[in-house]
Every structure is written in C-alpha cells, then in structure tokens.
C-alpha cells in the first residue's frame, strides 16, 4: 500500500502527537487556566478570573533577581559544556578509530548517570566539603593552609554540578552531527593544504552546527528548569526560578506557581526560537 507522502508523515508523527496531547497539552491547559484564578491560603483555588498573579510577578523585584541569577548560571554552564562537549565529541569522532571503542568510551561516560542523581548530589559533600577529599588533597600538597570554603555551598559548586550533569547532553547531539561529516571533505581540504584550525573553522564547526544548536537547547532548558541542583549545591542559599515556584507549590499556592510556569515557558521558548533562528535545525532535514 503506497501512501501519499504527507499522509505517511501524519501517520508517523501521530503517536508522538497523541502522547503529547494527552500528557502535555491538557495539563498545560489546566495550568494556564489556573494561572488566571484567584486563591486563598486556606481553601485553595477560587475560580475567579484575575490578572493579579501575573501583575505581581511582573512587578516584583524578586522575579528579576531570580531570572538574572538563573540566566547567569545558564550562560556559564552553556559556555563550559559547549567547550567540553565539543572537544570530547571531536575526540570520539575523529581520533578514535574503531566504532566499537568509541561507543564503549561513550558508554563509559554514561555509567555514573545510572546512579541516582540524589546519591551523587550527596556525595559532593565528602568530595568538596571543608574536610572533604579535595581539600585534604590541597592541604596535603601544601597548596593551601586552610580549607577552601567556596568549593561547596557556593555558585562554584552549582556550576560544577551542572557541568557534571549536563555535558553529556551536549556531547550526544554534537557527536551525532560530527559523525555525519563526510571524511572526504576533510581529506580534500588537507590535500589542498588547509591548516588544522582552518579545517576546524570552515568545515567541522559549520557542519556540526545542528548538533551544537540542539545541545545548547538541551543544556539551557535543563538549567532554566532546575530547582534541585541549585538548592542542594548552593546550600539553600541561592534560589532559582523553579525553586521559587516550588516554594509556592509547597503551600499549595497553585495560581502564582502556574503563572510563574507560564512566564518561564514563554521566555525559554523565545530563547529556543532564537537559537533556531541562528541554526535552522529543520531545514537540514528536508534535503
């Protein structure tokens, strides 16, 4: 049975669409609706339309501070994971000769992820704490006399944890993009006398841009949506957009949390759209 091409597309995309419609669109519609409701501490949501939740969020200094803080983390983490992810992917694609070894090395990187996040969060304390391994090593080697306090419960610790968790999300798409680069192109360039950095600049990076764009989308989304890492690694001293949302949810304050979620959604979608404007991920598909 030969289907018309577009009909085939609809059929193929149907399962995904169905799942997302039921489990995303409907709950999201509920969230958006609730964001316009009034509420009372004791009895909960009151189905009366109001713009108060939004006007509070837009007018509050807290919102600005939270977004500034979270965006700052997103930018730093993005830059670091991009650098590390690109380099690791480059190594795996171009310098490892056997595919099986490459996959093996790649899987090696994923093993820590099979241990729960929470357990790994706990283990940062004995690693970076005042009396932890790292400080013991530093003092033992004579580099510092006093334990370094900002290794843990600080912005540094948050960035380290983010990079630790999310670099893999940068590696995977870049790896996939790079692996598609036709080696003969590079050979031709080498034969034509191009230098290493030239090849990097003019062949490898442009042809990996889809991977870079997707990895960036992953990392930025993950950081913007995080509440747990920042809470634990900063020692509860820094809040993020979603952790503040969590504080509302704690007290069952659904309308303001919903409004905050909607605003976050809009802002990050705009960020993603901006990335996609620079790299049109979908254009490369139809070709």
């Amino acid at each position: 049975m030969k289907l018309a091409p577009t009909a085939a597309s609809y059929l193929e995309v149907a399962p995904l669409t169905l799942v997302l419609t039921v489990f995303l669109v409907i709950p999201l519609a509920m969230v958006v609706t609730v964001s316009f409701f009034e509420y009372d501490m004791i009895s909960g949501v009151i189905p009366v339309f109001t713009l108060d939740n939004y006007s509070y969020l837009f007018g509050s200094r807290l919102t600005l501070d939270l977004y500034a803080g979270t965006l700052k983390f997103a930018a730093i983490v993005w830059a670091i994971t991009l650098f590390v992810g690109f380099t690791v992917a480059y190594f795996l694609v171009f310098h490892v000769r056997s595919l099986i070894v490459a996959i093996g090395l790649f899987l090696l990187c994923t093993v820590p992820f099979w241990t729960s996040n929470i357990i790994r969060m706990i283990s940062w304390v004995p690693l970076l704490g005042k009396y932890g391994l790292f400080n013991q090593a530093l003092m033992g080697a004579g580099i510092t006399a006093e334990p370094v306090e900002w290794l843990l419960f600080s912005d540094f610790a948050v960035v380290v944890a983010y990079v630790h968790l999310f670099t893999l999300f940068m590696i995977v798409p870049i790896f996939n993009s790079m692996a598609r680069i036709d080696r003969s192109l590079i050979e031709a360039a080498v034969d034509a006398g191009a230098g290493r950095w030239q090849i990097m600049r003019e062949i490898v990076i442009p042809l990996s841009k889809t991977g870079i764009a997707l990895g960036s989308i992953f990392v930025i989304t993950l950081v913007m949506g995080d509440f747990f890492v920042v809470k634990v690694m900063s020692g509860g001293r820094t809040a993020s957009v979603v952790s503040a949302m969590f504080e509302d949810i704690r007290l069952l304050l659904y309308p303001p949390a919903a409004a905050s979620a909607v605003i976050l959604l809009i802002i990050v979608v705009l960020m993603v759209a901006a990335i996609l404007r620079i790299v049109d991920v979908r254009r490369e598909l139809a070709g």
Binding site: T115, L133, N176
Partner: protein
C-alpha cells in the same frame, strides 16, 4: 586525520588527556561513593572512613530501614524499559515524518519544545489532577509513564533531527531503484545508517526515565519509583546504604556494557565474515 593509520598526531595525545580528565571528573563523586560504601556499621555519609566492611551492602539487600529499595527498583526498571522502547519507536517515526513538509509540523515541533521546557513539578501536578478528575487511579505504569514520555520524547525527537540532518538520500533512492519497498528500505538501509543515533535515543530514554524525579513526583500514585524512594530516604536517617546502592548500580552497568559491547563486536565480526563470504558467491 584521514584514513591513513599511521602515527597519531600530537593533537591526539592532548585530546586523549582532556578526555581522560573529563572521565575522571565524571567519576569523581562516584569514587567517593564507592569508597564510603565499604564502611563499617558506624560509617556516615562523609569522611573520615569508619571501619571497613560489607555491612551496608547487607543492609541494602536486607531492606529494613533503608526503605523499599527493591520494590521501587522493580517499578523503575520496567518503567524505564517501557519508556525506552516507546521513545525509540515514536521518535524514529516522528523523525521520519519531519523529513517532509506537512501542515502543522511547526506546531507539533513547538509542542515538543514546550514539553521539554515546562517545569516537571508543575506538569506532574497537572497530570495528577487530570487523573483525579477522570477518576483513573494514578500509577507508575499509566500516569507516570505518560509523564516520563513527555520528558523523553522531545529529547528523542531532537536527536533524530541531529541524526537525519544532511542524511544522504542517495542510499534510499538507490535501494528503491533496485526494487526495495518502503519498509525494506527502512529496515535495511535507513535504520542501520542511523543506528548510532538510535542508541543515543534509547540511552536517553532509559536514563532520563530511570532517574526522573519531578515528573514522577505527583504521578506515581501510591507506589514510589526509585528516585522518589531515595528522596524519601534522604528525608530521614540516611546511611551509606545509599552509597552501597550506587556501587551496586555501577557494577551492574559495567557488566551490562561489557556484555553489550562484546555482543556488538561479535555481530560485527560475523557480518564482515558473511560479507566476505557473499563475494565468493
């Protein structure tokens, strides 16, 4: 660079060193976990090491105060496998769909992006409410399953984009010219070429589900998945049994990977042997 397998350039050593440092960085906390899991009964979650024993491994398997580790594992594992399977199948299909232009493609694409961005906490409350309204009891295999899919499907879809980008259609056209039907082309030409990408989607599907917390939070119903159970454990007396869990998980993962890689190597060797044989008619 290139196919001459001669001496490796100096960049290889630099990059290999970088890679090694990266792996050490990834394993840093894990090393702490492994070391501390071998403590004696007075051990805590931080250094200094107190005693050496297998006490905490016994505690883990004994399941007294450590919470229902095995019960929740027995839910997390099948759930992750279900999510893996469904994610791979649906993502591949959707990826194929997006190779053509069709009305509504942008809408569906942004639906997937929104699914990625929406905070899991909020979504899980929404899904929980939805189930409460419809009277269907929330369970790990229904509501949590759906919740996890909203997380893994966007990842799968986007990776498929990376996989199919600049995909050389020439192979598929050649296959069709030789008389292969669409299904045959798919199975024997398209999928093998994107196999590595599929592994990535499968891996993401599994790990993202296995370790998922926010989207499970309000959707599991009365029986916790492993991350929720562990989270519950940390809100009470914790013990190096958690670390023992980490060590056991790593050991099992290494074993699984070793098996998978050996299998892949064997398949590859058999395929190349068959290919050689094919030439001889």
């Amino acid at each position: 660079m290139g196919h001459q397998y001669g001496r490796r350039p100096w960049t290889f050593y630099v990059l290999a060193a970088f890679f090694t440092l990266f792996v050490l960085f990834l394993y840093g906390p894990m090393l702490v976990v492994y070391t501390l899991s071998f403590q004696g009964p007075t051990g805590g979650l931080v250094f200094p090491l107190r005693g050496m024993s297998l006490h905490w491994f016994a505690a883990l398997f004994g399941q007294a105060r450590t919470g229902d580790v095995w019960g929740s594992f027995a839910r997390s594992l099948p759930l992750a496998l279900m999510v893996l399977t469904v994610t791979v199948i649906f993502s591949v299909m959707a990826g194929l769909a997006f190779r053509r232009r069709f009305a509504g493609a942008t809408a569906i694409f942004y639906m997937a992006i929104a699914s990625l961005i929406i905070p899991g906490l909020v979504l899980s409350i929404g899904i929980g409410l939805m189930f409460q309204f419809t009277g269907v009891p929330p369970r790990w295999y229904s509501s949590a399953f759906g919740g996890h899919l909203t997380w893994t499907l966007p990842f799968g879809l986007l990776i498929m984009f990376a996989v199919f980008s600049r995909f050389n259609r020439a192979y598929e056209e050649a296959a069709r010219d030789l008389g292969a039907g669409s299904w045959q082309t798919l199975r024997h030409v398209t999928l093998p070429i994107v196999a590595v990408g599929l592994i990535a989607v499968a891996l993401f599907g599994f790990t993202l589900s296995y370790d998922e917390f926010p989207r499970s939070w309000q959707t599991v119903g009365p029986y916790n998945t492993l991350p929720l159970e562990i989270w519950g454990m940390t809100t009470n007396i914790t013990s190096p049994a958690l670390y023992a869990l980490g060590t056991v998980t790593t050991a099992v993962s290494f074993a699984a990977i070793a098996i998978a890689l050996t299998a892949m190597a064997m398949i590859q060797r058999r395929r190349s042997r068959r290919a050689l044989g094919a030439g001889r008619g």
